[in-house]
Symmetry: C2
Subunit: 312 residues, 2 copies
């Protein structure tokens, strides 16, 4: 065993639990127990970016680009595919169903009459459709939010452990944009860093790779899907394959920052060549989202995984 | 003259203009010209935090904590006090009027009937009030948005310069949380920083102090108010006074991260003791916002400043 094998344990010793941790874990526990009794599939979807505070009284922090588009869209398709969904997301990032109204001006959607305030004709159709879907699926959806990297990792560990009872019924879909670097709590200054002290020098240690204990210890029977976001196309396939070889989980979805809404590649441990999913201009025009195809693909892979587990 | 006196010029030489810069400056130009002809007061309000990208294809960035609460609330009170308002804000931060609906679930505000979708009784009153105010003031309000520190500084310079024509009718209220540190464009890696290269070491030079050219060169006749946010109470008064002595503008509003919604102090060049504004528990209970008192105070100071200018 190398030093790295214990790095994750040291992380949890050195960084305190988030606020409301016990309450959230109790909700997750109940959700998983209930689903296990009913033999329902549960997908954990992580979504949005994590922050790395530079001060304990946080004024400044490092953030990872992510609006939560991939995660929130995928959550809807997993719900529609029959999954129970735990949506572990960055606070104020996009949420399933509500995402469709993001950035819309409510004053453009309503009509003020002398005697009433109504939704205008055009938006009635959209709001009705969304509200009906939300009503239909909200009992199958558990929302849990985080801000910092440390909060996220505490909740990820706890959720994966609670999902253990589900065995191969559990699917983990790790779409959150998680920081690779952090500042340990012990090295964080208490107060705002003063600019009078001159240029800012930061040295950020690597975050321990949590996929290792996640696959080996926390959720050894779950079907685990991770993401690899790159900006350099040349690195994408290699990086995705390396990740899979290192952690021995089930699927790595590679995507590029600038084409992530129309193109992904799926790498697994069996196929020599990665599977590609690409939206045509025509599909894009029709409003089809790539997440619908990703979830359809993963659902079929999870079916197979579950079948193998039962017979194996 | 010291080297620092030219640092701001070097900044603008080294960091490219934001996208849509010319279109935004044209809108600001028209807004200021129009107000100058009508002899209307114009307040520039900056709001929200700036980002400092760590990569050119930005996946990671340093952010400053700010939801835009102070700026968006103040914008409403300046509008109601008769100002024309340029609201230079971080994209997706809180906006005047719309801020009251932030975090509200629209599905909790509407009623789906078989034949119609309406706003429920409780929310009709609130939405009507907001929509009426928004309709009343929207022609006096110009919204311009930014993301990065560099975008913000380009727009700040251009707006201050365009406001020059307004002379002492111009008020600048610099409530944005602006980064003290940045990474020059030339030192930014093109692609996502790889975690395989080990711990992340960053060295961030200081951002040139733009208040110096703002007061001296860009808007020499405007009434200028800046903010000083601290986390350590002991530093607050000293830091606020130092800032005023250094830049020779008109008011520094000192505030603490944890009490900023109930307490500020105003430092000027005349009074020996700073003026304090504090909300009582009772006022807080009634929903009074500290920004209403800040704006009332500044309006009186600006009146005096304008009167002195005319007679002086």
């Amino acid at each position: 065993m190398s030093e790295d094998d214990f790095a994750w344990e040291i992380f949890f010793k050195e960084n305190p639990k988030p606020v409301h941790f016990e309450e959230n874990v109790a909700l997750i526990h109940e959700f998983c127990q209930h689903s296990a009794i009913k033999k329902q599939r549960v997908a954990l979807i992580t979504s949005g970016g994590t922050t790395v505070p530079l001060e304990q009284n946080t004024v400044r922090f490092i953030d990872n680009f992510s609006a939560g588009t991939r995660g929130s869209a995928s959550a809807e398709y997993f719900l529609e595919a029959g999954y129970q969904v735990i949506f572990l997301h960055r606070s104020k990032s996009l949420e399933p169903y509500f995402r469709h109204l993001s950035g819309k001006n409510i004053f453009d959607m309503i009509e003020i009459q002398p005697s009433s305030v109504t939704v205008d004709q055009q938006h009635q159709v959209e709001l009705r459709k969304l509200a009906e879907k939300y009503q239909l699926y909200k009992c199958n959806l558990l929302m849990v939010s985080f801000n910092s990297l440390s909060d996220y990792l505490w909740l990820l560990q706890a959720t994966a452990q609670e999902m253990h009872i589900l065995g191969p019924l559990a699917l983990l879909y790790l779409a959150a944009a998680v920081s690779d670097f952090y500042i340990p709590a012990s090295q964080m200054p208490c107060h705002k860093i003063q600019s009078s002290s001159g240029p800012l020098s930061l040295s950020l240690p690597l975050v321990p790779k949590m996929l290792a204990p996640l696959v080996k210890i926390w959720a050894p029977n779950a079907f685990i899907v991770s993401f690899k976001l790159e900006t350099n196309e040349k690195l994408l396939e290699t990086k995705s394959k390396e990740s899979l070889q290192k952690y021995h989980h089930h699927v790595v979805i590679g995507n590029l920052l600038h084409s992530r809404k129309v193109y992904v590649l799926l790498v697994d441990r069996i196929s020599i060549h990665p599977e590609e999913i690409r939206l045509s201009a025509c599909e894009l025009e029709e409003g089809i989202e790539i997440e619908s195809k990703i979830v359809e693909n993963l659902k079929a892979r999870h079916d197979q995984y579950y079948a193998n587990h039962k017979t194996g």
